[in-house]
């Protein structure tokens, strides 16, 4: 679609038949080396991804308490899931988290990327933007847990000075998910911004020059040129971050542990609880399979709807 072939027909014509053979050999030689380099990763992929996925699929049709052999029980786990109000609650809570997390994060990331692109190309600034992402998830969660403490946290202290009543960020049902989503926005937005920034750099300068000549405003240029041309990168970023977002676990595990009541019992945490504290591995596997299906569908839809393969830069 996009005319980006690197080997123009002219070059082939000029070299002729004779040079075609060594070329082939060289590419085969590459293949061998490539295989050697790929082998460890492929092995890892099969052992740690393919095999567990297949086994998980099998276990989802069994009753399996982890410490005793699995017992085949057909679709019982899936039937149970339909009846399980906690499963549906987990899905709703997770979607709520994903919408807030991805929504806010993407807007902020594009904003930061634009600022970096327009104002500074400083490596230091890029490094600083990335800093939160370099801190381990659990550490970030714990630090915010302390800072947002109702009674001794610095954030509520600040709110009080401003004359605002302190907020029970993790304790109030309606605040818990937005709080956790916000923490992860803080951690991830720099990383996402860098990805978007890389996308911005791929947009050719002449398009902007043309816009300027036509008298387009900054605002118009952003909506009419930057955003449309950024789309392939944004789709990739959205797919990757959204899959990650659905898998929210660690922040919940070290702060609210699913509470208050069931307000933050996200699907991953619920699966973990079922599997590792209640030893209900069959049921947990079934839920994991459903989550897998949901993620696959969501990703496909995103790629389709946003025409990821095409660029408007044709």
């Amino acid at each position: 679609m996009t005319a980006t072939t690197n080997a123009p027909p002219t070059s082939r014509r000029s070299h002729g038949e004779a040079t075609a053979l060594p070329r082939k050999r060289r590419s085969l030689g590459d293949l061998k080396v490539a295989m050697i380099f790929l082998a460890p990763a492929t092995l890892g992929f099969v052992v740690f991804y393919i095999w567990p996925t297949l086994r998980g699929a099998y276990l989802s049709f069994t009753e399996y308490s982890l410490l005793q052999a699995p017992n085949f029980n057909g679709l019982a786990n899936y039937e149970r899931m339909v009846q399980d109000s906690l499963f549906w609650n987990a899905l709703v809570v997770t979607v709520e988290y994903v919408v807030i997390n991805i929504g806010v994060q993407t807007v902020l990331a594009v904003g930061i990327a634009m600022l970096m692109y327009r104002l500074t190309h400083s490596i230091t600034v890029r490094a600083v933007v990335l800093l939160p992402y370099l801190v381990a998830n659990v550490v970030v969660a714990l630090v915010w847990y302390w800072m947002l403490d109702f009674q001794v946290g610095i954030v509520n202290q600040g709110l009080t000075w401003l004359g605002i009543d302190p907020v029970a960020f993790f304790g109030e049902s309606q605040w818990a998910i937005p709080t956790i989503a916000g923490i992860n926005v803080w951690r991830h937005m720099g990383y996402t911004a860098l990805l978007v920034f890389a996308g911005l750099q791929m947009i050719p300068k002449y398009v902007y020059e043309a816009a300027e000549v036509d008298g387009s405003t900054e605002w118009k240029t952003f909506w009419r040129i930057t955003l449309p041309l950024l789309r392939p990168v944004l789709v990739m970023v959205l797919v990757v971050t959204m899959i990650g977002s659905f898998q929210i676990f660690d922040t919940v595990a070290v702060t609210t542990a699913g509470g208050p009541i069931n307000a933050t019992r996200v699907i991953y945490y619920y699966i973990f609880e079922r599997a590792f504290t209640r030893f209900d591995f069959g049921y947990a596997s079934a839920m994991a399979m459903v989550l897998f299906a949901i993620l696959a569908v969501v990703s496909l839809l995103q790629l389709r709807l946003l025409r990821a393969k095409e660029s408007d830069l044709a």
Partner: protein
């Protein structure tokens, strides 16, 4: 797209590396026949147990012990994955809420034969402790190592400022109607933003500076450090057939009225709302910052409270209730042997040693926990006294026999999964205490389904 593939590859490598590291853990074949691997979760107890392992090796040169310590949360998931992958430690510290399930699934070794063979004297332990490790199947799964009870930890600067004497604090009464003198004291200790006390005119319950009573959470199904003693002195029992509950009584009016009174303290402003209490790092940190006058807690927390340097902490007895006495939960830990160990004799030798007075004297002298061996208690008392604690309030209920066990059962995790949200809902006023009857039905269904 290349990005995600790269990430996958990286993850694959990371996975390989992690498994290589994990593979080194507890290689049964790689280590000597007499080497026992022992796990515990409390880092504060690591030095004492290292000392124990040294003495044990001196007494039994054919055996050595390698100690590994993991934090409470990692501990249990690591242990379970160890069971599955057959790399669990030979001996590990067990908890009453966890071992029944492990016993049920055949993962811990019954030690009756060893106990009989070596004529182990079970009479040396605090009354009732050894029997706590007899499972629902009648078999013995561990020798007790320590025990714990609950008391009130209070900020003595705040009680003095309120004019409340030590005698008053140690002779509190309680009832589910008006909370007795206990509630009067809690009310007096509560101070609003303008410095008015809970029992003074104009007290602003929506703007409280110091709460009279703190709590960590709604207590779930056991209420160990939150409500267990109120319910007990109100004449309530967790279940039929304690501690191996076959039918629970969370719907009993004696229980629901207790919880109703307890959450009433929130309405009155003497306790923070559930959201506020939960939106915090933990109750001891807030206590350390002077936000609570009294927090109930267990004896294992003495070290943590001693570390709160901004406040002076003292201990007070639990209150006397309608049944005419004080009661405390008494729980404890024991050392248990993994059923899959290839070193049974060495493991038993270590467990037997840890259950002996020699080992428990070492533990006692460190002043971290109360040893299970009664004769080791004076050493522990002295060690705690040296650290400035008068631990009498912990010991009295045990000496008087006024204790009740932790509600153990093999379905503890399922029961917790029902009771924790149910209690949370009541404490956050999203459900009435009477709704606990439904949760109770659910608990009993779980028990009968798995019976």
């Amino acid at each position: 797209m290349t990005m995600s593939r790269r990430t996958l590859l990286k993850a694959g490598f990371a996975g390989l590396a992690a498994s290589a590291v994990a593979g080194c853990n507890n290689g049964a074949a790689a280590r000597g026949e007499g080497e026992v691997i022992y796990w515990l979760w409390d880092s504060a107890q690591l030095p004492m147990y290292t000392e124990c392992a040294k003495v044990f090796h001196e007494q039994n040169p054919q055996y050595t012990v390698k100690i590994e310590q993991y934090g409470w949360n990692d501990y249990w998931s690591k242990l379970v994955t160890g069971f599955i992958s057959e790399t669990a430690p030979d001996v590990f510290t067990g908890h009453s809420s966890k071992y029944p399930l492990f016993a049920d699934k055949g993962q811990v070794l019954a030690i009756d034969d060893f106990v009989a063979r070596d004529n182990v004297d079970l009479g040396i332990y605090q009354k009732g402790l050894a029997d706590r490790w007899i499972g629902a199947d009648g078999k013995r799964y561990g020798l007790p190592k320590d025990w714990d009870t609950e008391v009130y930890f209070y900020n003595s600067a705040l009680t003095e400022a309120a004019g409340i004497s030590t005698e008053q604090l140690n002779s509190m009464t309680w009832n589910p109607q008006d909370g007795g003198t206990f509630e009067q004291i809690v009310r007096r200790l509560t101070v609003d933003a303008k410095g008015r006390r809970g029992d003074q005119p104009g007290f602003d319950k929506d703007n409280v500076q110091v709460y009279g009573l703190g709590y960590a959470d709604a207590g779930g199904g056991d209420g160990q450090t939150s409500w267990s003693w109120y319910a007990a002195i109100n004449g309530w029992k967790y279940s039929e057939g304690e501690p191996w509950g076959t039918r629970f009584f969370y719907g009993d009016p004696k229980f629901t009225e207790t919880i109703g009174w307890w959450r009433g303290l929130i309405t009155k402003g003497y306790m923070p709302t559930y959201a506020q209490a939960k939106s915090g790092v933990d109750v001891t940190t807030s206590f350390g910052a002077g936000k609570y006058a009294i927090t109930p807690n267990g004896s294992w927390m003495l070290g943590t409270y001693a570390g709160l340097k901004q406040v002076k902490t003292k201990l007070a007895r639990l209150p006397i209730g309608p049944i005419g006495k004080r009661m405390s939960m008494m729980n404890g830990l024991a050392d248990t042997i993994w059923a899959g160990t290839t070193r049974r004799d060495a493991s038993w030798a270590w467990v037997k040693f840890l259950g002996s007075q020699t080992a428990q004297d070492i533990v006692a002298r460190a002043g971290v926990v109360f040893p299970a061996v009664a004769a080791s208690m004076p050493a522990a008392k002295a060690a705690f006294a040296k650290a400035g604690w008068d631990v009498t309030p912990f010991l009295e209920p045990v000496e008087a026999g006024d204790v009740f066990p932790y509600p153990a059962n093999p379905n503890a995790a399922d029961v917790t999964a029902v009771m924790t949200p149910a209690m949370d809902a009541v404490m956050s006023f999203e459900a009435e205490p009477a709704s606990l009857a439904e949760a109770n039905d659910e608990v009993n269904q779980i028990l009968s389904a798995n019976a």
